[in-house]
């Protein structure tokens, strides 16, 4: 069963980019590219040779592998609905967050390795936004830990079993915060626009400007896995509130991220860069508010 869990996340990781593209195309009145176009793109990349900048060192060549390895390990902790994850222990939420941080750090350093001002720009922004989103992620995990009384992903979403309306509200709010974190972490509008064609305004894309071939394919796969892992967490929170079964959570993760990202990207403009910090700090503030709501509700329950 644990293997099924991992397979479902991998599947979700492969589907989410396709659904995002499809949603965007439909909202713009286009037919859109093939659903699996991103897979063909990666396949193409895997068949290419490579060009490296003379400024770069071995670090530049190692970073994509480190990044993909961290994402691969990170998905092992994530449960899908009522399925058990492959790896589970007290405090795995921390390991998850720090594995993602390692991947981010590796890419930031790789970007700095090229000596390009554009990539330095992207690296600096990624470092700042990554730092600011961390408390929001941890506080959300804290909220779930408060509700469930456990500190590992496998048990974190068991709070919904109580069938308490108040808990359901908190869980849905936590899912909302997690979805916002997905937007930030996977570099989507309104924080970052992957379709932009101006390097000065990019964040995530500009960091991989000098990558091609296998390395770029690794980075792309790692990004899919990362956003699938975070989407699955958001879906789990919703599922815990509504219907805690895996056949509900797994499609929900794809639909939730696919549709919300697609809709937001079709209807909203990207933030001005200076507004991004405000946006991310708002997520943290929201996460703190959700935590307090959970705390107050728990106090109330205790009094009863």
């Amino acid at each position: 069963m644990a293997l099924l869990n991992t397979l479902l996340i991998l599947l979700a990781a492969l589907c989410i980019p396709g659904l995002i593209n499809r949603t965007r195309a439909r909202l713009a009145g286009r037919k859109g590219i093939r659903f699996a176009q991103h897979l063909y793109d990666v396949h193409l990349l895997l068949r290419k040779g490579a060009v490296y900048s003379t400024t770069t060192t071995a670090l530049f060549r190692t970073a994509p592998s480190v990044m993909l390895a961290t994402s691969l390990l990170a998905i092992l902790f994530i449960p899908v609905g009522d399925l058990r994850p492959l790896v589970s222990f007290d405090g795995d939420v921390v390991a998850f967050a720090y594995l993602l941080a390692l991947g981010r750090g590796a890419l930031i350093l790789a970007a700095m390795d090229t000596g390009s001002s554009f990539e330095g720009m992207g690296a600096s922004r990624e470092a700042l936004y990554g730092a600011l989103v961390e408390p929001a992620l941890m506080l959300t995990f804290g909220t779930l830990a408060l509700l469930s009384g456990h500190t590992s992903f496998a048990m974190l979403f068991e709070a919904g079993a109580a069938d308490d309306t108040k808990l359901i509200i908190v869980l849905l709010l936590a899912a909302y915060v997690l979805t916002k974190i997905v937007f930030t972490e996977s570099g989507r509008v309104p924080v970052d626009d992957p379709r932009t064609h101006l390097e000065l305004t990019m964040i995530h894309e500009v960091m991989c400007l000098d990558y091609c071939g296998v390395d770029l394919a690794y980075i792309k796969m790692s990004t899919w896995l990362k956003s699938a892992a975070l989407s699955m967490l958001a879906a789990d929170a919703v599922a815990a509130a509504v219907c805690p079964r895996w056949w509900f959570a797994a499609p929900l993760a794809v639909v939730l991220t696919g549709l919300s990202v697609g809709i937001v990207e079709s209807t909203q403009a990207r933030n001005k860069l200076v507004r991004n910090t405000t946006f991310i700090l708002t997520i943290t503030a929201l996460a703190a508010l959700v935590f307090f709501t959970g705390y107050l509700l728990q106090l109330n329950i205790a009094i009863q």
Binding site: G49, Y98, G115
Partner: protein
Amino acid sequence: MLFLYTLLFLVLVVAAVFATPLRSKIWTALALTGAGALWASIHAVRVLAGGTVEALWTIPDTLFGGDSGSLDPLSALFVLLISIGGVASVLYSRGYLAHTLAEKSPAHVSLHYTSLTVMFYAMLGVVCSDGGLSFLFFWELMTVASFLLILYDAQRREVSRAALAYLIMMHIGFVLLVVGFVRLDAVCGTATFEALGQYFRTQSPLPLFLVFLAGFGMKAGVFPMHVWLPEAHPAAPSHVSALMSGVMIKTGVYGILRTVAALGELPVLHTAGVILLVLGIVTGLWGVMLAATQNDVKRLLAYSSIENIGIILLALGIAALGKASGNHFVALCGIAGALLHTLNHSFFKSLLFFGAGNLLSQTHTTSLDALGGVSKHMPLTSLLFLVGTAAICALPPLNGFISELMIYLGLLDGIASGSDILASAAGLASLALIGGVVVLAFTKLYGTVFLGSPRSHEVAEATEVDNLRIAAMALPLAGILFVGLFPQAAVACVTRAAGFFLRTPADAADWLLSPTLVAAGRIAWLLIAVTGVLLWLRRRTLRGRRIAEGPTWGCGFTSPNTRMQYTGESFSEGLQAIATSLTQNSGEGSPVGKGEIFPDAHRFDIGHRDRIGRLFSAWWVELLRVINQRVMRLRTGKINHYVLFALAFLVLVFLLSILNVI
């Protein structure tokens, strides 16, 4: 007697170091510290393994009612830390000071090595002493020795200023400790840490707790008493910075640990826990924000030391809160995290300061914006520095991750079990933010210094350092890898030492923590294995294909130069924009105006100073100057006035004694 022996030992060290020829002084110092470290480590390991207490010295009838020293598991842990850090930094000093030997007088060099040796033994004395007179004696010896060590480049004005500021601040701390111990002696009859527990049980504990916290906090660099750190570390030679930042400030942590342990399970422990947690959060956040805005390698590292002290205090706070509310798992995680992070920080901070020393000696600068592309010229240094960077960012699979995992586990369990929800949540959010900004600060440091293209010709001509210095760096590296890859064994050492704080037996503690630690160890190995497999796959895929090299993609711009790279200042500009209230920004020179289409040459320096530092140096230095001026009026230079003063003093003492005041 102890002092006679110490004096004798001092004379011997001085004689030994001064008698050896200039080039071999280092070997004398190394032999002296190495022998001490070996001897102390053997005892420490025995104590840690057996969980016993080894009595070292007992002297009845001294000041503070007798004096004694012993080696319990907590002392043993610190003895190990001091031994590793001390030997590594003496070993490192050979290559680092080699080029300065010609320009310094032999006496100067001898003084330096004597101080280095004495400092090492004084720190051992501090952690082995039970309190009272010998503790204060070794504490002061440590301060004086480190003061002399900072002064190696005394001809530079900023060095003597920093050293003097350090000496003054340390003595304020020392006075606080003296006040604390005298008060303790007045109530209990002795002034050991054991008596402190008795004092806390019988008297109102909070005032004395705060006095000790402030006294030890001065050494540890707790906010707002941290201002000496970022001044003293850049001024000192790098091996001294490593010793001070990696090892010496830990003696402050040691004192705080002893003080908290003496609180036992009194109700005041909860208040103490909250105080420590808040201090930890403020110190950590302040340190990391300032670290991220610094543009000098050593200043950045100094601020990061402050941040790490913050993390240690935060962990200790959560441990105290857990103990106070009867949640032993939280207490265990907190104290294990605090002790392990103390050990870890000494490893990676020594390594990083050695790395900074390599930079300084090979490129003659530590300014971020003058370096760049060092990794091509100093590959070993940059690899070691990268490991230190990843470790200090608490990234798996290295040691920082293990200790922060422990702390996070304590915080999350505090929330999950409902024992200290709000305090734990505050700690959780702050630690997460600290963790995030540390990644920013250190990717900035590593990215601008080691990666990219050289920004100055000094870097382009730099060469790798000698093997001895690399060997000195390998010592802390071994610690980093050991704790990161075998977390269960490392935490087992720490839980043995945690017995002073927790009554949970060490075996039970290991059993409680083992699921997480076993998993953390496996993740570390798995991460390495998966990365290896992916690298191999990448190589296989690329085999036989065309791999070209070319310039960095310039986005259509055809003649980029090295000065267009992102600098340290620009890297942290985004953070700077939201943290303006923390720093006092200064700009010297004139920036390029908006109207200048074809600008002339401009010179513009941006600096980010610590607001607290400014505050301190502003008012108390001024106050001291005024007081000094007033007091100087008494120095008339006439002997009859001095006789009058002496008479007045005697009369005063006489009057006070007949009024029963003293």
